[in-house]
Symmetry: C2
Subunit: 462 residues, 2 copies
């Protein structure tokens, strides 16, 4: 593969500049203000796939934002890799905490990224990681070393629940037929210790609304005499955890599998420093479910977090008002076997049942997805591990992630194939946060590792 490495070295500046151009497009799927930018981004991805050597590329219309599909079939007897990624990005709030504008990418050196990192919304999640696959394809086709067939499916609604992708996958099983699905939308432990994500949590995301009086009231004239929707909402949310931080929704844990002592001991071997973890977040203590370690809490245990809350007067100064309504966005991370639709229903039933008289409560499900586990004896896992080992000099560690890529469970159901999560991001890349970035080192190493995966996967398949 020396010719691929040489090709990457020769073209790396252009690879970086192309990604920077893509990052300038504000493809925020959660906010309809940006719908035109999202369409433009899908067109840019189409062009990029064509330029990289895809023989056929099309923009597939859906009920929502389009999916960019591309393929290069070299021999029907060879295995087919389906690459999935997304071209939409998270919202940028709180915008005031960004050190540079989120859609004006700049390269800065950091302690963790001495070779520089690209700072922009989507730099890591997922434009940067998705674009590694586009450039890896270019490197393979340009050097005549593509060893198998490849298909691309790049969507624009990952950050808002992938509804249109579900619609698309269910209607295109033949088109999407593959032997392995490859996704880079996760992270690795560090730049010297690669890891492969073997488990993902499921997700149920809901919005709740508590309504008290039919209009905002003067808190002096009505304070203490009517149910204040904000106070009630805080009481209701607070009651969703008990004193040990177990979730109190009846039936919530029914399908949660307890890991064996051996499995937990195996997990505990992953390198982890609680002191470094606390220091990096600037907290004096971690916090979570009693009886579990930090790494267990954010991977093998389900959670319930408020992602946003608002109500009443939130401007400058003071206003003595009792709001008519209060709202919260709440998400639950789920573990394998917990069904997100069932959990959403349990939440809704419970949350409505704990509303006191004097208020009404509305629960609106936003989106969700199932959890997923990849077996490490799968040849996809083995090929990925071999590729990482060759590039990084050490074997990859299998890791259960706390995050969710709801579509992975659907792929297995609809396309009958396994997914390999080859992530090159780092925890410190601040995805979903201000100052998101992606290391130049990670970007280029990703482009270098991916062709090796194709090579070993093809060798192990035939």
């Amino acid at each position: 593969m020396d010719n691929i490495k040489a090709y990457i070295d020769q073209h790396k500046d252009r690879f970086i500049n192309e990604l920077i151009e893509l990052l300038k497009l504000p493809s925020v799927s959660a906010d309809s203000t940006f719908s035109k930018d999202i369409i433009n981004t899908s067109k840019a991805v189409k062009t990029a796939l064509e330029d990289a050597g895809c023989a056929h590329v099309e923009i597939c219309e859906t009920p929502g934002y389009p999916i960019v599909y591309g393929e290069k079939i070299i021999d029907k007897n060879l295995p087919t890799v389906l690459v999935y990624g997304h071209y939409d990005v998270q919202p940028v709030d709180p915008i005031e905490l960004w050190d540079s504008p989120p859609f004006e990418p700049i390269i800065k050196k950091t302690k963790i990224h001495p070779e520089g990192a690209i700072f922009a919304r989507g730099a890591c999640d997922d434009k940067g990681q998705m674009y590694m696959h586009v450039k890896a394809l270019e490197a393979m086709t340009s050097t005549g070393s593509l060893p198998c067939n490849v298909k691309f499916m790049i969507e624009g609604e990952e950050e808002v629940g992938s509804n249109s992708l579900v619609w698309f996958v269910k209607r295109n099983q033949d088109k999407l037929a593959n032997d392995i699905i490859l996704i880079s939308d996760t992270g690795m432990i560090s730049n010297t210790q690669p890891s492969i994500t073997t488990g993902l949590r499921g997700l149920s995301y809901v919005e709740v609304e508590v309504t008290g009086p039919n209009r905002d009231l003067h808190s002096g004239l009505y304070g203490g005499a009517v149910a204040n929707p904000i106070n009630i909402l805080t009481k209701m949310i607070a009651s969703l955890h008990d004193e040990d931080n177990h979730i109190t929704i009846p039936g919530f844990y029914d399908k949660v599998e307890d890991l064996s002592a051996e499995e937990r001991a195996e997990m505990a071997k992953a390198p982890f420093s609680l002191e470094d973890y606390k220091k990096a977040l600037d907290i004096d203590a971690v916090y979570g479910e009693k009886g579990y370690t930090t790494n267990e809490r954010n991977s093998i245990r389900p959670t319930l977090d408020v992602n946003g809350i608002w109500g009443g007067y939130i401007g400058e100064g003071a206003k003595t008002v009792i709001a008519s309504k209060a709202y919260a966005k709440i998400s639950m991370r789920l573990v394998p076997h917990q069904d997100w639709i069932e959990i959403t229903e349990l939440f809704k039933t419970h949350f409505e049942s704990i509303a006191p008289k004097g208020v009404t409560v509305k629960v609106t499900p936003h989106h969700g997805g199932q959890g997923y586990v990849t077996p490490i004896d799968n040849i996809g896992y083995k090929a990925a591990n071999k590729a990482y080992t060759e590039i990084f000099g050490v074997e990859a560690i299998p890791q259960r992630s706390g995050g969710s890529i709801p579509i992975v469970a659907l792929f297995e159901e609809e396309l009958k194939s396994k997914t390999i999560l080859m992530g090159f991001g780092l925890d410190s890349d601040a995805i979903h946060s201000p100052n998101e970035h992606f290391g130049i080192f990670n970007y280029l190493k990703g482009i270098e590792t991916i062709p090796l995966f194709y090579k070993y996967f093809t060798e192990m398949s035939v």
Copy 2:
């Protein structure tokens, strides 16, 4: 006083139009965006006082927004009435719930106001009620019937805590010397049943900030493993009331006087329909401290209400984020003998003490004020009651209000005089809410009643 009534009849259209012009000025003191408008409003008030017959009017600079002072001294041996009011108004949020723009006043007929009401921010609180006094002065001076001396002190920071007024009053005791203070910034029971507010609650208004991790985090990767500041904030706020809705802050009730059974029985005689109350607010039940009626809960009992809460992602759609910070604005209404500075300190100490490890908490006091009670054997009260009785045909009912006018307790301390709260607004006027309005009937009846107060107060004083 027939000539005064005739004068009002003759000029009422102009009186309404002048108020409408004043209401067009967006004097929102809580938002510094409007600072220029506030200054313009103070100038408009100065001109209005001059036009109404004040011999001397000045705009008094303060550390904050100016105070408009005016006076007409006709005889040093006659009593002096000091009129207090405010020209600033509440913020307009939520703006989307207004049926017409808050600073484009319009007159509309309503069920309660068949003669029409002026809809605008500040229509009742307090521009409309303050302007009644300006027009009452005009009516008295124009008809040669001003029976005593009068001073006006109109401030621009009432809705944000009157800090500059405190500064001003402490430095101008001689200038402000008076025999009675007259304020119209409260309400009456109905247009056929006048009432005089004899008690006001005190206030402590604070803002709290809970900080967890030093940046927003991905809820998948960190969810369940670190303290989520929003979840923690809801837990902390929820714990401020027990199951009977008593406030749990240690020492909070120490100075609260329990009313005797007789006093409570007397209070219970005020006309009140719980069914109408619930219907007006569209709620299926009232809610509050166990052991007290609705009217007691919002007048003789202290309260704690969240006036605003915010944190995390509150835009359209979903964002799977754990916020770094969560905030709330919290106010406590206090009853006589509770000292607001002491209560603020108790809150701060308690709130900080209940913060779990993993977060830090900051409590910032906004403003506050003491409660107040006017004795009904005071000649000011008697003069007001006689004036109301003559205009409305029935005696006024003394009432304890749940609201706060923090400055009233200060007036007594610094100026050694009692305050009479002659309110002409109605509960349904939606002050502090969208679609605030003030009845034309109430405005004109106020202008008619005020000169009678001057007359009877002067007669009773000499």
